[in-house]
Symmetry: D2
Subunit: 395 residues, 4 copies
C-alpha cells in the first residue's frame, strides 16, 4: 500500500465482518482487500444469517471469534479491550440496512458493500444514524478505487477538459443474456439477486446501475438533474429487468447517457466512461484499466499510464506498483506462492502432490535459466554459436 | 484462491522470511502473495543483512519474531513447536545462495526469488542440497503464474498448434534507457543491480533474461539446444549490459528468437511469447494478460478469456475470479478498504483526515445512486422525463 | 474488385457527376470509389451550382464534358450515343433532391450521397419517381460497405446470436466539441452544414445520425418501432444540435440504444455496433474495422478476420485483399506511386524536386536491402558475424 | 491525393506496364495505386511473358495498347507523340532486372516492384544504368508510404528520441506455416516464389526480409554495419527458407534485431518497428497503422494520429483524409459504388441481379433513416416516446 496510507494506518485495524460465509464471491474480495495492505485483522464475525452455519463457516474462514448472530457478537465484543475498530458488511443486499444500523448503534465505523440499501428511505436512515453518532460510513463503490479513475476525476475537476458538456457511461455484462431461470445450474448464484424481496425491485439497477452511476458521479463531480430511462427485460417472457438505458442532463448542465445491461450475451465486462468539455476529452475503459486517454482537438492523444511521474499524489498513493509491472502481476505471484504452499502442506501431511510441476517452478527452471545466461555470455563473448550442456527437461 | 489449492493448504503455513526490509519492492510483492489467499503467516524473519536494522525493520513489518541474523533465527526457531514450515527468500541476488543453503541445512522448504543464484555452480549446489535433504525448493518465476500462460503451456503440450517449429519471446523495459548512473536520484534503486558483485556479471540476463527464458521453457516444454547471442550495453560509454538478442534451436528442433532489454526508453513493460506449429499459433502478451489468442490458418482467431468454462482445470484453479471482472479489480477494492482504514485510524487517534472524500466513497454516493435508481424506475414506468430531487454533491 | 462484381461489370460504366467541385471532401471519396475497381469513367458533370465555376472546376477534375448546369448537361448528353449510364450526386444535402429528380426524369440510374434528402417528404418523392421510371437508386450509406459489417449482418440474419434482444450503436466525433462558430478558420467547412436551409433542421441527425441508424437497420434487419430521444446542443449558448441520445424498441422486439454526437471533443471517430441475442453477441468497431468479434457464453471469443476462408461469399466479394495485408495498404502503395509521379512530372517539366528522397524509395534502398539479404545468407551459412560492405546512406 | 503532390502532377502521366496479367495480386495493387489519385493512365503494356496471353490479358485489363513483348512495345511506342512517361514493372522477381534494363535503355523512368532484382550484382547494374541515363528509378518498398512511418522517420531524424541506441523490427506471416508443397491447392500462388530460379535463392529474405530491412533503413536512416543471422526452414523436412532471425549493429552504433518469418502459422500480418534513444522511443505497428506512439521516461505516452494538426508536412501530404475517418473508409465506399455499378450493368444488359439488396443500400434505407431523424426530433421536442410509422423492412 502506498506509504502515505500505510503510514497513517499504523497497527492493523481490528475488523468484524457480517456476511461472507459459504462461497459468496464478493465477500472473498472484501476479505482479500482487507489483507492486501496488511492493514486489517478480521477478529470477529457473523458470516451467515443461519446461526449454526455462522459459527462453523466463520471457523473455516480462520476468524478468531465467530458468532451466531449480531446481538451476541455486539454484546460479547463490547466487553473486550480489543474490540473491533470497525464492521465490514458483505451480506446480500437486503440485509445491508439491518447490519449497518445494528453496527452503528453498537458504536462501530462501517464499511458496507453496495448498494447501501435497497431503497432511498433505508439509505437515508443509515446515513442519518452514522451522522448522529459521529461514525464513519463507507460504501464499496470499488470502481472509484482504480488509480486512473481517480486521476480522471482529478483532471476533470482541475479543468483539463474545460467545462464538461457531454458524458457517456456504459456498463455491460452477459450474465442474464440467456434464459437463466430455466436451467438449474446457474440459478443458485442468481437466486437472491432475482428475488425482489432480497435483490430489490430492480436488481439490475441496484447491482450494476449504481456502479455506472457512481462512476459518473465520482468522475464528473455532478449528478443527474433530469433524466429519462427505459428499464426492463430484453429477453421475451422475462419478468425481471436486465437492461436500463438512460439519458438526461447533469446538474452542471452537461448532457449524459448511461446504459447498463446484463443481457450482453457472452460479452466481456465492459465499463467505459467518457467525459468531454470544450478543451478536450478523457476516456477510461476498465478493459484497459491501467491507462487513461486524454484527447484534445488537433493534438496527439496523451495516454497516461502507471509509469508516469506526474500523476496526482492521491493516484500515486493508490498504486502499489508504479513501475512497469501491470496490475494482475500480484495475482500471478500469489499463484506461485499458494501452489508452493499446497505442496509444502502436502509434504508436511505426507500426502502425494501431483500438480507441483505445473503450478510452481521448481529448481530445474532456475538451473536452465542460469545455463541460458551463461550460454548467452559465452556466445556473445566469442561471437559464435554455442551449445548448451544437456539438461533434463523436467519442469 | 482456487478451492482446490485452498482446500489442500488447510491451516495457514508458518513462514520465515529472509530479506525484504526497508523499501525493497519485490519483497512487498512476496509478502502480499503470501497474504493473498490467507495461506501463510510470516512468523519470523531476518529482513536485513544489517543486524540492527533487521530487528527494527522486522518489527515495522509486523513480523512476530524478527531476528538479527540467520544463525540466531535458525537456532531459536529450532527450539519451538510452532517453528516455520518454510523459508521465503527475497534478498538481493547475491545473497540468495547463502540464504537457500542455510535454510535447507536448517531443514526448511524454501521459496526463493529468481534467479536462484548468480551462477550455475551455486545453483547446482543449492539444487543438490535440496534434493539430498528431501526438501522442496521453489523459485518465483512469476510469469508462469499467469492463468493464460498456464493455459498456453497446456495447449502447446496437448498439441493444439501441432509440433512446434517457431518460438518468439520478447521482454522490454525502459529502466536503463537513459544514462542512469549520472543522476543520483535513480541510482539507489539500481545500485546493487549494477554492481557485478551483487547483481551478477550480467544483471540484464539474470534479472529479466531469466524471466524471458523461463517463460519460453515453461510454455514450450523445451529448452535451447544451441544459440547465438549478442549481449552488451546499447548506450555509448556504458559498461554494463542493457540488451541481449538471442536466436537458436530448441531441443525439440524449433527455431527460436529471444530478446530482452532494459534500454527500451519510456516503453511500457513488454513481455510477449508466440509459439507456432504446423496447425496454428498461440500468442500471449502480458499487456493483455487475461486473454490468449489461438490462431489457425484460414479460421477465425479464438480468443480465450477468463470467462470461459472450458479452461484447463489448473488454469481455472489459478484464477480467483473467473467471472467477468478483470484482475486489478482486487487492487481497486483494496484501495477503498485501505483508505477507509486510514480514516478509521485517524478517527481513533483523533487525527484530522483530509483525503477521505477522494479516497473512499462516503454514503452520499450511496444515497445518490439510490435516488438515481428510483428516478430510472419512475421514468421508465411513466415513460416520461423525471427530475431528481435536489441533493448536495459532496462526494 | 472481387472477381464476381468485376466480371459482372465488364466495360467501364460511364458516369455523370453532380457536385464535387472545389475542395469538397466527400466528393473526392466518391470519385476515388469510382476509380477503385476501374469500373467507372466520369464522362460528364456539373460540379458546381455556379455555372462559371462548374465548367472550370470540371476541367480541373479531368472531366471530359463539364457543363454549366443540369439542364444543359441532360439536353446535350441525350443526343450522344455514349451518354452516361448513371448519375452520381455529391452536392451539399439540400441539393440532393433536385439533382435526383432531374436525373431520374432524364432517365438515369442514380447513386446519391446520404441523406437522400433533408426530409421524408422529399425522399418519398424521389423514391416514387425512381420506382415509376424503373430506375435504380443507391444511397451511399458507406458503412454497410465494410466487409465485416456485411459479415455481421449475414450472421445476425443466419441466427448466429439467436433472436436479437439488445442492440447498442454509438457514433462519436469531435468536430463540434469546441465553440466552432467563433473562429473563422474552421467555419468554412461547416458553413453549409450549420445553415438549416442547406444542412437541414438537424444536421447532426442528417449527417451522422443517419449513419448510425442505417448501420443498425442494415445489420439487424429491423428498424425502431418506438423510441425516445434527446436532441440538442451540449455546448452552452449553442443553437444547433450536436448530440442525440436515443433508446427504444425495434420491430423485432429488441431493446436498442443509439447515440450520435459531434461534441466528443478531440475524440477519434468512434462507430461501434453491438448485437446480442440469447445465443451470443457480435461486436464491430470501426477502429478495428477488419475484424468482427463473436462472443458466446462460456466460450472463447471468436475473432473473424480477413484471412479466413469461411466468410460469406458476399463478404469475400467485398474484400480486395483477403490475404494478411490490411486495408490502408493500398493508400500507402498509392503514396509511393503518386510521389514518384510527381517527380516524373517535375523531371519532364524541368522543375526541381526536393521531396523525392522522403516520399519515394530510390534504388539505394533496393541495393541496401539486397546487401542485407546476402549478408544474412552469408552469416547463416557460416554461422558467423559478417560485416556489410560500406554503402552510402542516402535514402 | 495531397494537394501538393496532386498539384505538382498536373495532367495524368502516361504509364506502360510490364507484368500483371492473369490474377497476379500485387499487380492489381500497383494498378490501383496508379488510379488512386487519378494521376496515371496505363496506355500500354506487356502483361505476360507469353506473347499470346500478353495481348489478350492486356485487353482484358482495359489497356489501350497491349503488346506481345518488350521489344515490340518499345519500338512501337518510340514512334508516338503520346509515348509513355514511365514504365511500371510488376512481374515475378526474376524478371525485374531485364524489365528495368530494357525500360531504361528505351529512355523511360521506371517504378519497379521490390526487390529490384534477385542479387546485388543485378541491382547494381540497374542502378548504374539509371544513373548513367539520368532517369528516375523507384522501388515500391510500400511500407515507407504509410503516413505514420514517414512521421516516425521525421521524428527520429529530428532527434525526438535522442541518439538512437536500440532498434527492433519484426515481420511475421503464416503463409508457409503449414507443409504447403504437399497440397496442390495453395501451391499455384507460391510456385514461382519457391522456385529458386524465379523467387531467388531465399525468397523469404527477398520477399519479406527486404520489407523489414527497408523499414528499418528508412525510419532510422542507418543501415546494419555488422550482423549475425540464422536463416532457414523451421518446418522439418523443408528445403526452402521460411524464417530469418538477425541481430547486429547499425552504422550509427545502435544495436538492432530483425526477424522475418512466413512460418507464423495462422498469425495475422505482423509488422512492427520500435526505435529507442536516450530521450524516448517511437513504436509503430502496422495493425494500428494510423497511429504512432511516442514514449518518454516518466511521462504520458503521446499517441500521434491522423487528426493532428502538427504532423510533418510530408506526412499530411501522404494522407488523403486527415479527418477522423480511418483508412479503409475508401475501400468501403468503393464497395458500394462497384456493387451499384454491377447492378447498373446488369440492368443495361437485361441480366437478373440478385445481390443488390445486400451489396448496395437502396432508397428504403434512406427513407427509414429520414423517418428516424424526424422521429428523434419529435421525441426530443415533446420529451415523449414516439412511434415510427410502419415501413417495410426491405433493405
Amino acid at each position: 500500500v502506498p506509504d502515505a496510507i500505510r503510514g497513517s494506518i499504523g497497527r492493523r485495524l481490528r475488523a468484524a465482518v457480517i456476511g461472507g460465509g459459504g462461497d459468496a464471491q464478493i465477500a472473498a474480495t472484501h476479505r482479500l482487500a482487507m489483507r492486501f495492505d496488511d492493514a486489517f485483522d478480521i477478529v470477529a464475525g457473523v458470516v451467515s444469517s443461519d446461526p449454526k452455519r455462522a459459527v462453523a463457516e466463520g471457523d473455516a474462514l480462520n476468524i478468531a471469534r465467530p458468532y451466531p448472530d449480531l446481538a451476541t457478537m455486539f454484546a460479547a465484543e463490547a466487553r473486550r479491550e480489543d474490540r473491533p475498530d470497525l464492521v465490514a458488511i458483505m451480506t446480500p443486499n437486503h440485509a445491508h440496512a439491518a447490519g449497518c444500523l445494528a453496527s452503528l448503534d453498537a458504536g462501530y465505523h462501517v464499511i458496507c458493500d453496495k448498494p447501501l440499501a435497497n431503497s432511498v428511505a433505508e439509505a437515508t436512515e443509515i446515513v442519518a444514524r452514522a451522522k448522529s453518532r459521529g461514525l464513519l460510513l463507507c460504501v464499496t463503490h470499488n470502481y472509484s478505487g482504480y488509480p486512473m479513475v481517480r486521476q480522471m476525476r482529478k483532471m476533470v475537476l482541475n479543468g483539463a477538459v474545460g467545462p464538461v458538456h457531454l458524458v457517456q457511461v456504459r456498463y455491460a455484462q452477459g450474465n442474464l443474456g440467456t434464459p437463466v431461470m430455466d436451467g438449474a445450474a446457474r440459478v443458485a448464484a442468481l437466486r437472491w439477486r432475482l428475488d425482489p424481496a432480497m435483490g430489490g425491485r430492480s436488481n439490475l439497477l441496484l447491482d450494476v446501475g449504481t456502479h455506472a452511476h457512481q462512476l459518473l458521479d465520482f468522475v464528473v463531480g455532478s449528478d443527474f438533474e433530469t433524466l429519462a430511462a427505459d428499464l426492463g427485460p430484453s429477453l421475451p417472457g422475462r419478468t425481471f429487468d436486465d437492461t436500463v438505458m438512460v439519458f438526461g442532463q447533469l446538474e452542471n448542465g452537461a448532457r449524459a447517457s448511461l446504459t447498463a445491461t446484463k443481457a450482453a450475451t457472452g460479452a466481456p465486462q465492459i465499463l467505459d466512461i467518457e467525459v468531454y468539455g470544450d478543451k478536450g476529452g478523457l476516456i477510461w475503459r476498465q478493459q484497459d484499466a491501467q491507462s487513461l486517454t486524454h484527447c484534445r482537438p488537433g493534438a496527439a492523444d496523451s495516454r497516461l499510464h502507471r509509469g508516469m511521474e506526474k500523476l496526482a499524489p492521491e493516484v500515486l498513493a493508490s498504486m502499489r506498483n508504479p513501475r512497469p509491472h501491470p496490475e494482475g502481476f500480484r495475482e500471478a505471484f500469489a499463484n506461485i506462492y499458494s501452489a508452493f504452499g499446497a505442496s509444502v502442506s502436502a509434504r508436511l501431511a505426507g500426502r502425494p502432490d501431483d500438480t507441483a510441476p505445473l503450478l510452481w517452478p521448481g529448481p530445474d527452471y532456475a538451473l536452465r535459466s542460469l545455463e541460458f545466461v551463461e550460454a548467452c555470455m559465452k556466445s556473445s563473448d566469442t561471437r559464435s554459436w554455442v551449445r548448451l550442456r544437456e539438461f533434463g527437461n523436467g519442469g
